[in-house]
Amino acid sequence: MDVFPILLVIVFFQVFVIQKSFPNLGTTLVGFALVVFGLFIFIQGLESALFPLGERMAHQFAQKGDIRWIVFFGFALGFSTTIAEPALTVIANKAGKLAADAGTISAQPGPIADYVLGLRLTVAFSVGLAGAIGVIRIIKGWPLMWFVMAGYGLIMVTTLFAPKEIIGIAYDAGGITTSTITVPLVTALGVGLATFIRGRNPIIDGFGLIALASLTPILFVMVFGIVAQEV
């Protein structure tokens, strides 16, 4: 049911618009069956592991009552999941190539590798920071709107000063940092914290961690671009 629309779109365009026969029909059908089956198993695991785990850890943290540990946990979860993200590695490599082409850094393997590593660390740090700030926000009950407004404001201003070739990468970096396993875990954690802390509303205060984690990389990658340009 979830995957069916993709098949419909592909068949329609292949048959009616491109008007060519289907390549490798057998492989396609087997692959499609795997997608449906895999998604089914994933959702079973989601309900029996990721959701309960996030909730229970939130509960135990809330019982413990030490805010520093929760904030550190938010940072560590954000940083560690992002630094290993394959999509980020791909984008960072492209960015290194672009910067060398534009003459921002010298086109030798050493400086390019430094640039790529620096970019990955910047994004991972910014997602970690979002995790930490997001957790503090939930505990204090501050409205997400403040953070979003301030974040967008800063992004708008920084865009004016950022080197042209980094802007596209920066905006895309916001979208790629949230992986399929992190999202359910972080959502359950946020909602769990907001449920167990008195006076917080799970819907208003519990969501928003992912929103912050897609905002900070945009800002920090542009700042990284400006700094790398001047060094």
Binding site: V3, I6, G45, T180
Partner: protein, 274 residues
Amino acid sequence: MEYESSWWQLLNHSLKGTALDILPIIGVLVFFQLVAIRKKLPHFKKICTGFILVIVGLGIFIVGLEQCIFPLGTEMANQLTDVKFLVGEGKNSAEVFSGESPPALLYIWTYIFAFFIGFSTTLAEPSLIAVALKAKEISTGAISAWGLRIAVAFGVAFGVALGTYRIVTGTPLYIYILSGYIILLIQTIFAPKLIIPLAYDSGGVTTSTVTVPLVAALGIGLASNVPGRSPLLDGFGLIAFASLFPIMAVLAYAKITEILSQRNQNNYHHRGSQ
């Protein structure tokens, strides 16, 4: 037999990749459980089984995507943006592409394809399913999981279609994004307070396992086929669009639902007073 073994190899490879992605997460979880919380996790066995299900399910899902949906999607993106397909066989392409930018309307099928592929891949996105389930659970059904997913899918669809149009016309990305932010801020002021965090979360959630590779392929295919565009410079930005427009769509969906439910409530009060 060779056919079967190759499927096994792919699956094996994909399972290893998924397990490697999860390792840092497990490391952090174990560290904090042991050092910070220092308590036994209840239902430990059940959670372990669930984790294995997550890894296996995601592994199988990704093999299927890489073998079936990605090659087809990439191939179709290439065919749809191919100059021969656009101009028609035997016609002179130099005439059509004489200006600085190609006529934007020529790529109409690409925009339509982008719209529908954005819509359909978003519905299959596992993270979005997770967030929608959670939202439904804690709102005790007030937020419908399907309603949210369809709203987000519309947002992505519109965003990706507009993004392909931008690649063809070559307008700078930041002009679109900055005007998008301004619209978003205005919407946020008027939106029901309850939905705001969820709406902003769904922007980041939509772009993951399924959507990113397909949409990136579309962008790069388009940027390398359209004359005067560079895949490195102009291929970026589709993902940014795909995470911006779902926020607008969810805020709009919530506003509409609010208006409708207010009407229903008024009807209910009328009935109650009788």
